[in-house]
Amino acid sequence: MKEAGGAQIVAVEPGVYSVLLDGRSYEARVEQSADCVIVFIDGHRFEVKINDPRRWSRSAGKPGIEGRSNVVANMPGKIVRLLVAEGDTVEAAQGLLVVEAMKMQNEMKAPKAGRIVALPAREGETVAAGEVLAVIE
């Protein structure tokens, strides 16, 4: 603790680290998922991907746009309306379906232009977070 410079890290609470580096004090808060470590410092979010136990890289933060895209429920909810049908051609940002959760309706939009190759979602059904609602190719 007595060194003049150099980083010095202490785990102060579960997932919370106090870092002293070059005289500056930082508090970093970590949330870990299966494949990445998310570090928050002063409200800023850093995603450190664990692609392989031996190799990590910092994620660019943007998902790829090419190829097949899944439209996924980002929270549990109820499908109140379908705005497209399987086989339809859609524009990027076009509304695909409406999900209601926590008393709020949300229109799920196409992440890119393409064709609806699968539409497992059904009106009136309840969906779980992470469930695939539509697939665009």
């Binding site: 890289s57 910092r58 008393k103 709020m104």
Partner: protein, 501 residues
Amino acid sequence: MFRKVLIANRGEIAVRVMRTLREMEIASVAVFSDADRASLHVRMADEAEWVGPSPSTESYLRIDRILDAARKHGAEAIHPGYGFLSENAEFAAACEAAGIAFIGPSSESIRRMGSKTAARQMAVAAGAPVVPGAHTALSGPAEARVFAEQYGYPLLLKAVAGGGGKGMRRVDSAPDLDAAFRDAASEAQRSFNNPELYVEKLIERPRHIEIQLMGDRHGHLVHFGERECSIQRRHQKVMEECPSPLVAARPGMREAMGEAAIRVARAAGYYNAGTVEFLVDTAGDFYFLEMNTRLQVEHPITELVTGQDLVRLQLEVAAGQPLRLSQEDIAWRGSAIECRIYAEDPYNNFFPSPGRITRLTRPLGPGVRLDGCVYEGWTVPIDYDPLLAKLAVWSESRDTAIARMLRALREYDVAGIHTNITFFRQILEDAEFRAGRLHTRFVDEFLERRRPFDPPPDLASIAELVAAFHLKGVAQTAPRPDAACAPPSRWLDIGRREALR
């Protein structure tokens, strides 16, 4: 005074009311649904009663079950909070009929104000300015089209039974009208069980400024000044302040709005807490919008500036006591701001983000007030409004209050779910906000112009260092047999070098 009061609500407002009840040595009775057994409002109550399954239609909106609970527990009064049954005239009437004091206005006042068209007519009669519009329910989109031909676009479709932006649609041109009418009516039907709509001229870039009122059952009414509530997303307030920077800059405006609000309330025979909402146009003229016949979410900022406990006053008035304040007793000191901390992702269309709160660090220190109903380890249920807490600050001026709110938000950490904490920090740094140039489309315009929330350059390497350190710690508790011989990555390398230097 009452000896026992039931709170027909959940979440932060139930806790808020309980705190004043406890300070008044009145026993509190909580009600809860299946989803809320472990909610803080149940944990903090003196008594608690289960009222049904998680959907609010089967629990918090069940008048019969709420009244059964009140009778069973011997509650002498019911505080409805906001939302749920708070503006339900039938509920207020049922309380009256059951001989249980409803802590709010008469069912008759609620009914008069609950119909937005009837309220408008009452405001007109009381001499309060109103936005041009149809004072009665529309028969269909065709009637709105006739109105548009007279007043032009944009116009606003609103639910007759509405509130909170539900069943409300802006219409910018004739081709959008039919779809907007259909959507709004369907949403109104779902939300209020009444699809009726009315139409108003849309005031461009209006401010939303409201007046807090309190009246007793002996005809005495006072106002507590204004709150500026122009910062909204999806027609819902997310950030409020007192005083309004506009009103503070205009001598006499607070008094004029306060008097107009009192006139409308008096016309409705109003008592207990209520709020008259006004739209204010760019010229500074104000128009009656509606009256909310209950305590508002954002009441804490009025409490901070006036030093009054509005819930205590509600209880006193509901118990039949005369209001112990006259208008001259109400004084305003300093400036207060409230941020509604929601479980939502502001950068993904404010999408709700329920889930388990894995870590929670709250702001403390001078001038900070926090009203919440969450705790570490609690799971935000998917069944209700995603409001986690209301963070309010007070300081001597608007500028220092903004600085204090920024400080408080930087201390605030909620892990496991998304929140809008960072979003508020960005708004508070915005030059337009700081200049007090507010209007109800502020958030939309802000989202267009906002600069990315970029970290200072040194933070990325700190984050990498911490990730390495964290994984090393994780590895130590569950070691991988092959980890020792793996070639160190650049990040791990940094981590080791820095940590051991």
